[in-house]
């Protein structure tokens, strides 16, 4: 698509540089003498000046943007998304903070048993997958959680390294995820045994740190 046919342009006249304040001082005096003696040149300059004045009057350099506060907040949301996307590809080391919670029988092959995932589903309409893994946490510091997202496949893959087999005295066959009714961001995960009994519950404390609760020893 041809958009800018430069060859249509004649060489810009000197008066344009003079009108736009781009003419060096050394040339200006001579040009102004020429302008003073040329009515045709004066008319051409005046026509351009009139056009410039109309454009400045009708096309303000600054306009009041609708919903200004929302405009800024939406940008901040997008910046958070960008930051989350950049973090997604970085391997997250398990926090040693809860190392004392190391319990051999908790270590298992299922991703949801050993890792808490903060997942946010973006409500903004988009043709791309909007589920982002915001952060991960594993009680066992030996377990490393990596999250990879493929936009082409619209899939998020979790990889766990450092897992051990479940001990024979504990068997987790199912799990159930609950979100808080008043606070959707809060979640608890209950892991059940073969008879439906609750083996362990993972939730969050007041500092939003994962906690484990074992109903029976």
């Amino acid at each position: 698509m041809k958009t800018t046919p430069e060859n249509q342009d004649a060489t810009p006249p000197d008066w344009m540089r003079w009108l736009d304040g781009e003419m060096p001082a050394a040339e200006r005096a001579a040009f102004e003498r020429e302008l003073a003696g040329d009515p045709g040149l004066q008319a051409e300059v005046e026509a351009a000046r009139h056009l410039s004045a109309m454009l400045k009057q009708e096309l303000p350099a600054e306009m009041s943007i609708p919903h200004a506060d929302f405009f800024n907040s939406q940008i901040q949301v997008r910046l958070s998304q960008i930051e989350a996307e950049e973090r997604r590809s970085v391997p997250v080391a398990a926090s040693p903070w809860l190392g004392w919670l190391r319990m051999p029988w908790l270590i298992g092959a299922a991703a949801v048993v050993v890792a808490l995932l903060a997942v946010r589903r973006d409500e903004a309409p988009s043709s791309e997958s909007n589920t982002l893994v915001m952060s991960t946490y594993a009680p066992n510091p030996k377990v490393v959680v990596n999250a990879f997202h493929s936009e082409a496949a619209e899939a998020t893959v979790l990889m766990l390294e450092g897992l051990e087999e479940l001990p024979a005295d504990r068997k987790v066959v199912g799990w159930h995820l609950d979100s808080g009714l008043t606070d959707p961001a809060s979640m608890s995960t209950a892991f059940s045994g073969p008879s439906g009994e609750v083996e362990v519950v993972m939730t969050r404390d007041a500092r939003n740190q994962p906690r484990l609760w074992v109903p029976r020893s």
């Binding site: 249509q8 781009e22 045709g40 051409e44 009708e58 350099a61 940008i75």
Partner: protein, 204 residues
Amino acid sequence: MPAAAAAPETEEDAVLDIDLVRRCQAGDTRAFDALVTKYRGRVYAMAYHLVQNETEAWDLAQESFIKAWRAVSSFKGDSAFYTWLFRITHNVAYDWLRKKKIRADGNEFDDSRADHGVAAGAETVARAVPAPDTAMKQAELGQRIREAIAQLSPDHQQVILLREVEGLAYEEIASAMKCSVGTVMSRLFYARKKLQEILHDLRP
């Protein structure tokens, strides 16, 4: 005496912008929020003048700032921040216009086929026509001017807006549009001639 090319900001503004940009480069989103607040009105105005649609201009202004954030680490300070931001806004709007192929007559941009084509060297002296209707509403005048600008190619629209609305100097326009000063002058001259032809009945 012609008006000198208006600077878009004072020296104090430039220093403040540099400080905010450095904080942005360090990841400070609040500093970026300050820049957004400062320039959103001008970025929105530029986008609006090009696309003439509030909703699209709003989205394009958002996109411009997001692109600016993503690229802020590459800002070297060899031009004013606002000029750099203008370049981004220009590219965003240009891409949108190119995809949209907006034209008053529905055709692709092609100034050589324009109904109001101006021959090289054509005179631009005002003709003896009746003065504009003094009862013409300001909104109608503005609409006519916007429609006239819409008949220009994106590059010609941009150079007119950067010069006549934003008051940028030739060098600043060249930097924003990534072209030579000579190209800026050629495009500006052509755009002015074409607008005068389209708006011939509004001449003094």
